[in-house]
């Protein structure tokens, strides 16, 4: 009599075990098959526990999910300032174009999320360390795609979709309240050489969504994602003469002296600002929302209040100019 009972229990147990596995697998959705910006199919077998990021994006996305990356690349020897409170024990992996691969190996990430242009030459090495996803981070669409794709890799596909929907709704609301009628430039200073971003860079796309004209305009090669920025001469800057100037500069030094600066409308009207490192690294869910809200306040201080949650070191401030 016992034998059939044992057999029944065993069968029931096995069935329950298989059901459990199936349920578990269905909930996490692993393995996941993804195609990244390289056009490469990447299979993530199980939910990643240790995630590293060779761009602010991965750290930003993980922070949006309340998690921390084990390592993140730095810009000019600084971890993303706008994420600082959330990067407690995160290891600095060095510059994005020259990742410290030994340090990365030591961290044993089971997923590394990287910026394609910088990581592609070393992709084989990254793939030996763990699963590797490389994305383009230029336009708003790149950001939306990368959030969806990376969220799936992290087992949070629905959350990724929600993040995008929330952002697009916020963008729409801000767009509706933006009065418009301004022109601006987003400049990155490399030494005393200013670079300016074209229309298809995401920060400029957000600027344009806020009804602010990018004084530089579209790229002369619109079908190509790169270049997304160009060197601008001081004479060109004077000719464009925007209402507002947003400058990103890696160090703390004032903007290099040139007589043109004092003739610009933006400088005369005290509307030239230095912005944080989230402006060039805008593609993560936290960065893009901060940039949108902060820019809305910079452009239209009467309509939009200054956003909260930005560390002082990353908050916008008036530009300082060097003396002759």
């Amino acid at each position: 009599m016992l034998y059939p009972l044992t057999r029944l229990l065993c069968r029931t147990g096995a069935l329950l075990y298989l059901m459990g596995l199936a349920t578990n697998g269905a909930a996490s959705g692993f393995p996941v098959e993804l195609v990244d910006s390289r056009g490469k199919t990447v299979i993530i077998k199980k939910e990643p526990e240790n995630v590293a990021s060779i761009a602010a994006f991965g750290a930003d996305l993980m922070a949006a999910f309340g998690r921390e990356v084990v390592g993140v690349s730095s810009m000019n020897n600084k971890l993303p300032l706008y994420l600082q409170p959330r990067l407690g024990s995160t290891v600095d992996l060095g510059s994005a174009h020259e990742t410290n691969l030994e340090r990365l190996t030591e961290l044993k990430p089971d997923l590394t999320i990287g910026l394609r242009t910088y990581t592609e030459p070393f992709q084989n090495q990254f793939e030996k360390i763990g699963a590797f996803l490389a994305y383009d981070f230029i336009s708003l669409q790149d950001s939306l795609d990368a959030v969806v794709s990376s969220s799936r890799a992290l087992g949070k596909a629905a959350n990724g979709e929600q993040l995008n929907q929330h952002f697009l709704a916020t963008l729409d609301a801000y767009q509706q309240h933006a009065p418009g009628g301004l022109s601006a430039l987003f400049i990155w200073h490399w030494g005393d050489i200013p670079w300016t971003y074209y229309d298809h860079h995401m920060t400029v796309e957000l600027m344009r969504a806020l009804k602010v004209d990018n004084a530089l305009g579209a790229s002369p090669t619109p079908k190509m994602a790169n270049p997304h920025a160009a060197v601008i001469t001081m004479e060109q800057l004077l000719a464009l003469n925007p209402d507002v100037i947003l400058s990103f500069q890696s160090g703390d030094e004032p903007i290099a002296y040139h007589p043109v600066w004092q003739r610009l409308k933006a400088v005369k009207n005290n509307r030239a600002y230095r912005v944080g490192d989230h402006y060039p690294q805008v593609h993560g869910p936290i960065a893009r929302e901060l940039v949108l809200k902060e820019m809305a306040h910079i452009f239209y201080p009467d309509q939009f209040s200054e956003p909260e949650g930005i560390p002082d070191s990353a908050r916008f401030k008036p530009s300082q100019f060097a003396k002759p």
């Binding site: 200073h189 490399w190 001469t233 004479e235």
Partner: protein, 336 residues
Amino acid sequence: MNNHAASLSLASGRIWWVIAAAVTALCLATLWSMTQGEMPITYRAALTQLFKPENSVEGFVIWEMRLPRVLTGAFAGAGLGMAGVIMQSISRNPLASPSLTGVTSGAALAMVGGYIFFNLSLSWMLLAGTLGGFAAALTTFSIAWKTRLDPTHLVLAGMSVSLFCAAGIMTLLVAAANEANGLYFWLVGSLADRTWDHFDLLYLWVLCGLLAGLLCFRPLNLLAMDEEVCEMLGLSTRRWRLLLGIIAVVLTAATVAVAGPIAFAGLLVPHIVRLAIGNGHYSNHLTALPLAALVGAALICSADALAKNQGVPVGIVSAILGGPLLLWLIQTQASV
């Protein structure tokens, strides 16, 4: 006798042609540069603003942006041209250029170091570059001093110092904590966005160097002769090589600090002048030195006008045009 007189007359005619061509090129390049740019300014408006400036955007663009750029280019070209003749004469090497003394690399190293470590202001950066050029050149001269500044040893010492400085530059750029990419524009050689501050640092050095070079035309003529002949004529070759080398450094150091190392200018100009006026007149440095300064100014201004039109640094235009032109000149000279 009549043949000699005829050949002298022909050669002096060629000198006047060279002067006329260089002055014309200089004037045309200047005028073109005054009208080219983001702000459309007509030739007439440019000339009006030049001679009767107004407090307008056009006046500002001409006087604060385009004129200092052209003048900086002209002085840089003049300095590099004359320095090229001096260096080729004292080293008796037609492939010598002002950078042979290490001055270019030394100035570049000081500028890169100044930017990365000290974040110096513009005036201090330019001064640092000039002093760096002097320090490197003096190191070269002191190394070669033991061999009486023998041309071969001078070249070797200059190359060593240049390589050492180049290695230093690469190390600094790789290890830079700040974004140093902007420095690459300067390292290529650029006149974009040059202001009166740049010109102010440059013109005195170049004027002093040009004057000193002209005053030393006789020793330069003698140095072209055999070493023993020079000694027999009572010329201390070592001292004169040092003095003339320092003049070349004076002409080059501030130029490099202000405009970066503009490739080929110092190498190319002496060859252009030699081909234009012939070896006989070229060996008279009273003629060759001012001509080289004039041709250098015209060359750099023309190259910069082209560079501005194409939106690239002048160093790139100078390298693209200078390389093939130098090869052609060498071939032409070989076949003469």
